[in-house]
């Protein structure tokens, strides 16, 4: 079947079997390797992408289900040269250990900050709750998201 998606701002067209999941389309056909496969059952959060701005597990979605929607992965948020403030804050906080869960966390944190530029620690915990991380114990990721929020407010970028 033919699936049209806007991936990181670029309209794309894919021809895929109807059972193709969004995660596989993104990783194998769209080149978005940031979308990580950790459980394929929607439990770990590593494959999270933004669908029209909402964080969703791409392993639980068929590509056809999200036809016509805007998909955002971290490739669309920044690069090592021009990192998103969340990326910088996470690295500076020491929140990136193995890094496997980080792209998904960044997207859920972005969705949170888009809605609520001034979150509490509890808000951040709840936003990151669907993301399993075995390395950090979550302390530094939570600190980092709060720090990024503060920096983005200062930079007036909270709503971007």
């Amino acid at each position: 079947m033919r699936v049209e998606l806007t991936i990181n701002g670029v309209p794309r067209v894919f021809e895929v079997p109807p059972e193709t999941r969004l995660i596989d389309l993104l990783r194998e056909q769209a080149g978005c390797r940031s979308v990580k496969r950790g459980c394929e059952s929607g439990d770990c959060g590593a494959c999270t992408v933004l669908v029209d701005g909402r964080p969703l597990a791409s392993c639980l979605l068929l590509a056809g289900q999200v036809a016509g929607r805007r998909i955002t992965t971290v490739e669309g948020l920044g690069t090592p040269d021009r990192p998103h403030p969340l990326m910088t804050a996470l690295v500076e906080a020491g929140a990136v250990q193995c890094g496997f869960c980080i792209p998904g966390m960044i997207l859920s944190a972005k969705a949170l900050l888009d809605e609520n530029p001034n979150p509490t620690a509890q808000d951040v915990r709840e936003a990151l709750d669907g993301h399993l991380c075995r390395c950090t114990g979550y302390v530094k990721p939570i600190e980092a998201v709060l720090e990024a929020a503060a920096r983005m407010r200062v930079a007036g970028e909270g709503g971007r």
Binding site: E28, C32, R33, S34, V35, K36, R37, G38, C39, E40, S41, D43, C44, A46, T73, V74, E75, L77, G78, T79, P80, P83, L86, M87, T88, L90, V91, E92, A93, G94, A95, V96, Q97, C98, G99, F100, C101, I102, P103, I106, V124, R125, E126, L128, D129, G130, H131, L132, C133, R134, C135, T136, G137, Y138, V139, K140, P141, I142
Partner: protein
């Protein structure tokens, strides 16, 4: 050995050198490449806990369009080995072959398929016909040790590779014992005696990236293995052994790794390698989450009995520790985890009379292996609960009892010499120990004095309590582990640092770059790190035994010190100084400075050496082994709240005060601590692999194997207490494993403080807590 001084790069929390690439989602992990014509592999797993394969017919699978290769035990070489990724000769028994005619647990390998797509591979696996003769199975390690129990390894070729006790006909995978002084005599004379038995359960590492391997044959027909491993050099050696091909034909590449925690210290790549060898095409194999839970590796469940004999003033007169480990169907790490039960707990409390015995028994359950903590987790539980009981009997504060008996700087322990890993240990004296300060600062941070014993005798429904423990680990395996580094100077004054050391997400590439930058006096971004590629980087045993910073870090420091001398020698010539005057030079900011104020930059030195006079490559190799394994120390404090109606225990606050020597990168050291503590709390409260009566795992998924999430997090306080380890690079020792050992005993002791019952069987589920409260004498 490095001098204690003010550091420029070491001790600073620089941005992790690979952090932004990961955060920006750059392709980096094993599965992030796609090779032309790549096949997908799936394995057929045993549905039986113990069975012989009477007949296996893969003809239908082979006939399925899109199937490139099917391998059964009839199609592969039988080369007995161990999957434990350890140094040569491995202390784990040789009891594994690529595919066998017998299966020993539900989830054991039966066959493998490589096909054009994953779906075809899955379909082909279902088409393999297998007739099993089901054998009686045994799931309890004590039952497995009884006469008449099913013999799990009755194959004639299984054996120990080193001279250690190994009796497969009695399901004994490993045994270790130790006796110092006269424990029984001392127990008879000791006025205060404590005995406690604790039991731990099956847990799994649950790295968020499962095991992934891609194998292909390169243009020269060499086998390239790109794999999520902690031990690339052991993978090369053991895959060569299992496949029966020359080691020189194999190149192992370790890309970024999505966590390992010991699970990836296991060599499981051989079957994927064989599929690539047979098909000549690239083959990828990725464990599903349920396969990761069941068929990768787990933590050895253990029964541990501790006896303490004490004088009335609390001084220790005798310790006896007896451990029975369940190694599952194969003896991976069976001996060394058993050894570490003693060697990573007993030296913490010097005592003239010590007894220690540990057995690892085979059962028909999933295979145990290396898991962060590595025996110390299992043994610290009964040891630290016993000390809590002892303190109560003696009328002493548990903090003060430990303060009185813990090992101190300058002290040794007969256990260090007696207990190594598969051989005798190495005598050592403690060069750094700030455990006293850990106790003081940790107690203060948790509010020990105010919170202790507050709720137990109240009628409250929600009762809070505090408990604590002290811990030690090691830093590398002395006189066994070796790490090496190579360093070369580039035209622009930058350096390539090549290390065998294996960054599996820990940040060791960054830590090693810091050590090089500190030694060379250059900015961190002048050190370009490439790690763990068996064709390109020097050898390293890999990321295990809390070794990388301490062992590989010193190899890097040595290499950098040598290169610095080489740079000075060239600079002396450029500055027209006699060779003897090189000692008067000093390095700063990537340049060499003469006493008269003249300077040449490293870039100028490099250009001179590469293109000017006496042309040569400035660079070197350096290797390091250690003659000590300096323990990091920690004091952990837990505050819990127990719902006396439901039995639910919640950790309210947790304090880890840690002496890891110089923290080369404080934030990463804190991160190691926080990650280990949270994993430990999960293991203590919620994480448990459950099995039915047939040995089938009932909960191999994140929905039913509950690891903690951000919302479950207690208030977590990490205190790095500085010390300086004289044998480590810039004073460093290890930090990665120790902190996973605290939650079991600290939480058990806190529950006792809250509600007056001892939880001696993990995890501390509401059911167990409630049962213990209703039957105070029971367990």
């Amino acid at each position: 050995m490095s001098e204690r001084r003010e550091f420029r790069v070491v001790g600073h929390s620089v941005p992790k050198i690979d952090g932004l690439g990961m955060a920006a989602g750059r392709a980096a992990y094993t599965d992030d490449i796609e090779l032309p014509g790549m096949l997908h592999a799936k394995f057929l797993w045993s549905p039986h806990a113990h069975a012989r394969i009477v007949r296996i017919d893969a003809s239908k699978a082979r006939a399925l369009p899109g199937v490139a290769c099917v391998l059964t035990h009839q199609d592969v070489p039988r080369n007995i080995h161990t999957t434990a990724g350890q140094g040569h000769p491995e202390p784990s028994p040789y009891d594994t072959v690529m595919l066998d005619a017998k299966v020993r647990y539900v989830g054991d390998r039966v066959a493998a398929v490589a096909a054009e797509t994953r779906a075809i591979a899955e379909q082909a696996v279902r088409l393999i016909e297998v007739e099993y003769e089901v054998l009686p199975a045994v799931f309890d390690p004590a039952e497995a040790r009884k006469p008449g129990a099913p013999v799990i390894h009755d194959e004639p070729d299984c054996r120990a590779a080193i001279p250690v006790p190994y009796e497969p006909q009695r399901n004994l995978a490993a045994h270790v014992d130790l006796r110092i002084g006269d424990p029984e005599g001392a127990f008879a004379a000791a006025p205060v005696q404590v005995e406690v038995t604790c039991e731990t359960h099956y847990g799994q590492h649950a790295p968020i990236e499962p095991h992934v391997t891609i194998c292909w044959l390169d243009a020269d027909n060499r086998l390239v293995i790109r794999t999520s491993t902690q031990v690339p050099f052991h993978v090369r050696r053991i895959v060569a052994q299992s496949c029966g091909i020359p080691l020189r034909r194999i190149r192992v590449i370790k890309p970024r790794i999505g966590g390992g925690f010991g699970a990836k210290q296991e060599v499981l790549e051989d079957l994927v390698a064989m599929l690539a060898l047979r098909t000549g095409r690239p083959v990828k194999h990725e464990y599903t989450r349920s396969e990761e839970f069941v068929s990768s590796r787990t933590r050895h469940p253990a029964r541990g009995r501790v006896r303490l004999g004490l004088a009335r003033d609390g001084s220790l007169q005798a310790i006896d520790l007896e451990m029975l480990l369940n190694t599952g169907a194969y003896g991976s790490h069976a001996l060394t985890v058993a050894c570490n039960c003693g060697s990573k707990t007993l030296p913490l409390y010097p005592c003239p009379n010590v007894g220690f015995r540990a057995d690892s028994a085979y059962t028909n359950l999933p295979v145990a292996g290396a898991y962060r903590g590595y025996g110390a987790t299992q043994a610290a539980f009964p040891m630290e609960v016993a000390l809590d009981i002892a303190a109560e009997k003696l009328g002493l504060d548990p903090v003060e009892l430990r303060r009185k008996i813990h090992i101190r700087e300058g002290q040794g322990s007969a256990v260090f010499r007696a207990l190594g890993e598969g051989k005798s240990g190495v005598e050592q004296r403690i060069g750094s120990c700030k455990l006293d300060e850990c106790l003081t600062r940790g107690a203060e941070a948790i509010g020990w004095k105010e919170k202790r014993g507050r709720d137990r005798n109240t009628p409250k429904r929600f009762k809070r309590g505090v408990g604590m423990c002290t811990l030690m680990q090691g830093s590398s395996i002395p006189e066994i582990d070796m790490g090496a580094a190579s360093l070369k100077l580039n035209d622009d004054g930058s350096f390539n640092l090549l290390v065998g050391a294996t960054d599996l997400g820990t940040g060791s590439d960054t830590v090693l770059a810091q050590i090089a930058a500190e030694t060379l006096d250059v900015p961190l971004d002048h050190v370009i790190v490439y790690s763990s590629d068996t064709d390109l980087t020097p050898f390293d045993v890999g990321a295990y035994a809390s070794s990388t910073t301490y062992l590989s870090g010193e190899a890097v420091r040595k290499a950098a010190a040598i290169v610095r001398e080489q740079i000075f020698a060239v600079a002396a010539g450029m500055l027209g100084l006699p060779p003897g005057d090189a000692a008067k030079l000093r390095a700063a900011d990537g340049a060499v400075h003469a006493p008269d104020g003249r300077r040449v930059t490293y870039a100028e030195v490099a250009l001179h050496a590469l293109y000017g006079a006496d042309q040569h490559q400035i660079g070197t190799f350096a290797s390091h082994i250690t003659h000590a394994s300096p323990p990091p120390f920690a004091a952990h404090f837990a505050e819990v709240e127990v719902d006396t109606e439901t039995g639910l225990c919640r950790v309210v606050k947790y304090v880890a005060a840690v002496d890891c020597g110089t923290a080369i990168h404080p934030r990463l050291a804190e991160g190691q601590t926080e990650g280990a503590v949270v994993n430990g709390i999960g293991y203590a409260l919620t994480e448990e692999l459950l099995f039915d009566q047939h040995g089938r795992c009932r909960n191999p998924n994140f929905g039913h194997y509950k690891i903690l999430t951000a919302r479950d997090l207690p208030e977590l306080v990490t205190i790095l207490v500085p010390s300086y380890e004289p044998t480590g690079p810039y004073g460093a020792k290890s930090v990665s494993e120790i902190n996973i050992n605290g939650p079991l005993p600290a939480i058990s002791n806190a529950i006792y403080d809250a509600v007056g019952v001892r939880l001696l069987r993990s995890p501390f589920t509401p059911e167990r807590i409630l049962r213990a409260m209703r039957e105070p004498a029971g367990k």
